[in-house]
């Protein structure tokens, strides 16, 4: 009798443990999801109430005054991201092409891939210091260009990896078809393989773009910041995330309002990029291929 009781008791405990574990996991999820959703919604509400036409067209009003916008920061971000993309996208795609088409499976490719992943984990402020040292110091001034270079080298590892991922999805028989026609390898890689994978490659670049668009730390001592409109690459320039930082830490309520608006703009950019990437990769890179 004692034996069966012990058995029954242990079964009871196992049943209890199973339900307790389920309960804990569900609780964890709710504890996590609810506040995160709340953050999201809060950001959207605060941001939406701050956005108006003036936001996009005007530069900031001096402290204490109302009105004004983040036009200088938006343009600045555009310039800096432009420089960064010019640097990061071609080199990143080239690296991805190497990993997928030439080095596949080889030792060098594995080391490159590993290093790219590790590089993605290096704090961006360290990149900022390096570019400060490389460009700002010799030039003796802060510049949008330096900020662009910092963002550009941050894009390279990400673009390389996503490009590789997308190229690997192109079926082998399509490459064979091109080679079988006597098309030179370089032409085949560019006009056939890359072109077939292009929706995925492009969205991968967008993802890298959206990521560095939100980076503040590397810009703190390269592009520095600027209260006025600037269209020059050789002067300090304001960027959206950097100005959000400055305004958030300031005592001015109006500037706080602008900071929320800027945050919403950034979030929208990121939501679009992440959604696009998911959409493209779930549908498959190749429309209608076998």
């Amino acid at each position: 009798m004692a034996r069966t009781n012990e058995f029954a008791l242990r079964n009871r405990m196992r049943w209890f443990g199973d339900h307790a574990a389920s309960f804990l996991c569900v609780t964890a999820t709710v504890l996590v999801v609810a506040p995160l959703v709340a953050i999201f919604v809060y950001l959207i509400f605060k941001g939406a109430s701050s956005l108006n036409i003036a936001f996009f067209l005007h530069k900031p009003a001096p402290m204490g005054e109302t009105g004004g916008g983040m036009a200088n920061a938006i343009i600045g971000s555009g310039l800096v991201l432009g420089v960064g993309s010019l640097l990061g996208v071609p080199i990143g795609i080239g690296g991805g092409i190497y990993l997928a088409e030439f080095g596949r499976g080889g030792k060098l490719a594995n080391i490159v891939r590993f290093t790219a992943d590790v590089l993605n984990g290096v704090p961006s402020i360290v990149m900022g210091i390096a570019i400060y040292s490389l460009i700002v110091v010799p030039q003796k001034h802060f510049s949008a260009f330096a900020g662009g270079v910092a963002l550009g080298i941050m894009m390279i590892p990400t673009v390389t990896r996503t490009t590789e991922e997308m190229l690997l999805m192109v079926p082998h028989n399509i490459r064979e078809a091109a080679l079988g026609l006597g098309v030179p390898n370089w032409r085949s890689v560019l006009s056939i393989t890359l072109k077939t994978a292009s929706p995925g490659v492009i969205t991968g670049c967008m993802l890298a773009f959206a990521r560095v668009a939100g980076e503040t730390a590397p810009l703190l001592f390269t592009a520095l910041g600027n209260d006025f409109m600037s269209y020059r690459l050789d002067e300090p320039i304001a960027t959206l995330p950097q100005q959000i930082f400055v305004y958030a830490m300031s005592p001015d309520d109006e500037w706080h309002r602008l900071a929320w608006g800027g945050a919403l703009v950034l979030i929208l950019l990121i939501v679009i990029a992440v959604s696009l990437v998911r959409y493209v990769t779930s549908r498959g890179v190749l429309k209608g291929a076998s």
Partner: protein
């Protein structure tokens, strides 16, 4: 218009696997030659040695000589140049998915720098007519993507694409094995018509197909070529017992 193929002492490896052993063979011009044999006997590898596609695999190795029209394709030319002269149709249709039907057919030329639009139009039409696809697609050449056709149509598109570069030899690696019987019949008719203009080598594991389209047949077994003779002789009175066993279905 076609050329003959002379193969001497051809050996091929994938890594350490000795896939082809001492193949000696003369494939006559302007004829269709079928290669038959059980799965894994090396006939696909052999055919891929004829247009140097075998070496796209990094662990592949080849020794011996292959002369096409008197030209040693390993010594005297580069793979890219050879593949423009020796066309290939693969087992599974592989049209380029990002290109229209027109661009698919013209790809062998456009990707090699051919610019003349007017002539390209003519070449595309001619190639599609030769592959018996023209009537079905002539109204949608530039609108439809190559990948939106049915399986049989796709394969004929691939044939048209291969023909557009005016090769002297056409290699076909089990071209109809992924297709339904109606498409297969269409492709066999095609081969029948094409062989007077090109030298055709067709790999097939369908013996009836070999008997229908090819004048000569070679039997491969475990990397060796066992027998090569006129199709009629192979199927009615083979010299080697192993050939006879395969033909009569005792294995493979």
């Amino acid at each position: 218009m076609g050329v003959s193929i002379e193969v001497k002492d051809l050996n091929a490896w994938y890594g350490t696997t000795h896939t082809l052993q001492d193949i000696n063979l003369n494939i006559p011009a302007n004829h269709a030659t079928a290669l038959i044999g059980p799965s894994g006997c090396g006939k696909s590898t052999f055919v891929r040695c004829l247009n140097r596609m075998h070496e796209t695999n990094p662990v592949a190795r080849v020794t011996g000589s292959v002369q096409i029209g008197g030209l040693d394709i390993y010594e005297d030319a580069s793979p890219v140049e050879i593949r423009r002269r020796v066309g290939m149709v693969f087992q599974r249709p592989n049209p380029f998915p990002t290109m229209s039907i027109y661009d698919n057919v013209a790809s062998g030329l456009k990707l090699n720098g051919y610019r003349n639009r007017h002539e390209l139009d003519e070449i595309v039409e001619r190639s599609l007519k030769h592959s018996a696809l023209w009537d079905e697609v002539k109204d949608e050449l530039k609108k439809k993507s190559g990948a939106s056709l049915s399986g049989g149509q796709q394969q004929r598109l691939c044939i048209a694409r291969a023909l557009a570069v005016d090769p002297e030899v056409l290699l076909m690696d089990e071209p109809a094995s992924a297709l339904d019987p109606v498409s297969t019949a269409k492709i066999e008719d095609l081969i029948f018509q094409l062989k007077s203009q090109y030298t055709i080598v067709i790999v097939t594991h369908n013996m009836q197909q070999a008997a229908r389209v090819a004048e000569n047949t070679g039997f491969f077994l475990m990397g060796k070529m066992i027998e090569f003779d006129s199709t009629h002789k192979i199927f009615t009175n083979p010299s080697d017992k192993r050939t006879e066993d395969y033909i009569t279905g005792r294995f493979g």
